[in-house]
């Protein structure tokens, strides 16, 4: 299975818009949304059936039993995450706790214990096409591990498939790094703004650090032609394959707001996305 991952560095450049168009254009038999703390792909990829849901357990959270606590303060002194509050009763800040277990191990009274905590919900649509997605529980931090689970359940459900398309998350940190693992190529959706260029350079360096092949396309290219040219010359300078441009198109917003992909309607952005798709597949298979 070849995995094409869509990333951008900067948020809001059009990852999900392009991923949904590519999924439909390739008639992909497997796809996933790895943006677990702001997932949107399911909004435009209608599913014929309800998903199979699984609770995702992140690391456990510490709790203190007030009846056995001797208030020795060792847990608070040794917690690196400032997750223990002293007071009339010692309490764990649920959101600050990272589940490392140091407090449990240092407690001389056996008053601290670790309790499993649901950190998100995995959803799998496994019909003729496999769609794997998840949503992080509010207040949970471990999005990288949940991303790894999203990809794992997609792969397990879709074994003999040529191409999987994966919608990624913004940034360059843990969820992005988790999504890069196993990807055959990253398509970067760049935006012609100074911020977009800076963010694009950082995500390209991140993908290269993890030895993943990169191609670049520009969305809303006509909103700032000068910056579009800067991105093109950047790609030429560093010999990065260029997959094409997509114009700003109010019809694209209308399509999304009607829960449709841009290729479901006849619009300029949809037509351009088709060309970008064809070029991307050529680069992927080259």
């Amino acid at each position: 299975m070849k995995q094409l991952l869509i990333l951008s560095g900067k948020g809001g450049t059009g990852k999900t818009t392009i991923a949904s168009a590519f999924i439909k254009l390739s008639d992909a038999k497997a796809y996933a949304d790895c943006d677990v703390d702001a997932p949107n792909l399911h909004l435009v990829m209608h599913q014929p059936s309800e998903p199979e849901m699984t609770d995702y357990y992140g690391l456990p959270k510490a709790e203190i039993n007030p009846d056995s606590c001797v208030k020795c303060d060792l847990c608070r002194q040794n917690c690196r995450f400032d997750a223990i509050n002293a007071g009339a009763e010692y309490k764990v800040d649920y959101y600050a706790c990272e589940g490392c277990g140091v407090c449990e191990a240092v407690c001389p009274a056996g008053a601290v214990f670790l309790k499993p905590a649901v950190a998100g919900e995995l959803m799998l649509h496994a019909g003729d096409k496999v769609f794997s997605t998840a949503e992080l529980t509010m207040g949970s931090g471990t999005s990288g591990k949940l991303v790894a689970e999203v990809k794992k359940q997609m792969k397990a459900a879709a074994q003999d498939i040529d191409l999987a398309i994966i919608d990624g998350s913004p940034g360059i940190g843990c969820p992005v790094i988790a999504s890069l693992s196993g990807a055959d190529m990253v398509l970067i959706v760049a935006e012609p703004s100074i911020s977009g260029i800076s963010d694009m350079e950082r995500i390209i360096k991140t993908a290269e650090k993890f030895q993943t092949k990169v191609a670049v396309c520009i969305n809303k290219y006509d909103t700032n032609i000068e910056n579009t040219e800067k991105i093109r010359s950047f790609c030429q300078k560093y010999e990065l394959p260029f997959a094409g441009v997509i114009p700003f198109d109010p019809d694209a917003i209308k399509a999304i707001n009607n829960a449709q992909s841009i290729i479901d309607i006849d619009c300029a952005a949809g037509r351009a996305a088709k060309e970008v798709f064809n070029t991307t597949i050529k680069i992927l298979n080259a």
Binding site: K10, T13, N40, R80, M138, G141, G173, E191, S195
Partner: protein, 285 residues
């Protein structure tokens, strides 16, 4: 007052709102907590930059003392240690710096060293002090950088604007933790509304007073505005979708400093936000 600006969805205009609000204040501190992709400095182009490395503590083993008991390997919940071919290996990138392995090694074979994961830059642009967190490429978590910045603000300015990362995970939680007020920036799309709902749940969970700025507003129905009305969320202001503003912003220019119309718009928004925050402090001190 500390005001966090967040959005859930990326690209809705967090940096636009926080940079411009800081610019129209008499004096302000602007903190860029989007350490993975910081952009505020591109707008402010700050001068007199002071830079400080940020590091985390990670374990390293004294091979002569390690007897291969694997207590550290078993203890580590993050699987950051392995004992392979008679050698203890540390996987820096997954280590959460909890210190447990070092604390519990019976042979005292483990100690900690500093590992640089990024930096904080401080500079000035007119009336604004700019503090930017920058995560090094390939590093997993920016949380230690955000913690360091927010724990060390000693600027005595009326306004502190915290430009948050997108999403709703750990870096966002850390960024809003000490905020007095949260501004959620939303765009009028189906995606925007879905992610607004997620951060709305987050700010409610953390009991933060909050309001919404509607960005990229066009004529006609605005799904984000509809959401705010349904949930009874205060709409602080509306920023129109205008190509003039779009071009200024895409060229990393501060609209409020370039154009009187936008200066007035952000100044009114700042007044509304100030009133809201003061109101919240009175009823909820």
């Amino acid at each position: 007052m500390k005001i966090a600006v967040l959005s859930g969805k990326g690209g809705t205009g967090k940096t636009l709102v926080s940079v411009n609000l800081a610019s129209v204040a008499k004096e302000a501190v602007y903190i860029d907590c989007d350490v993975e992709e910081p952009n505020g400095h591109l707008f402010f182009k700050p001068e007199d930059i002071e830079s400080k490395d940020i590091s985390v503590r990670i374990p390293f083993a004294d091979v002569d003392r390690c007897n291969g008991c694997r207590k550290c390997v078993d203890f580590c919940k993050f699987n950051a240690l392995a004992y392979i071919s008679n050698k203890l290996i540390v996987f820096d990138e997954v280590c959460h710096s909890c210190g447990g392995c070092t604390l519990f090694c019976p042979e005292k074979a483990l100690s900690e060293k500093e590992k640089i994961i990024g930096k904080v830059q401080k500079g000035v642009s007119g009336n604004v002090t700019i503090i930017t967190g920058i995560l090094n490429i390939g590093e997993v978590s920016g949380v230690p950088i955000i913690k360091t910045i927010l724990n060390s603000i000693n600027e005595d300015k009326e306004f502190t604007f915290i430009d948050c990362p997108p999403g709703s995970a750990c870096t966002v939680m850390e960024s809003i933790k000490d905020a007095d007020y949260c501004i959620m920036v939303a765009e009028p799309t189906l995606f925007g509304v879905h992610n607004l709902n997620m951060v709305y749940k987050l700010v409610s969970l953390f009991d933060k007073p909050h309001g919404v700025v509607l960005n990229k507003c066009l004529e006609g129905e605005n799904p984000a505005e509809k959401f705010c009305i349904e949930k009874g969320i205060k709409v602080l202001g509306k920023i129109p979708f205008e190509s003039e503003l779009g071009i200024l912003n895409s060229d990393a220019l501060i609209a409020a400093r370039e154009n009187e119309k936008y200066r007035d718009m952000f100044f009114s928004l700042l007044q509304i936000v100030t009133k809201e925050v003061q109101h919240e402090t009175i009823i909820n001190p």
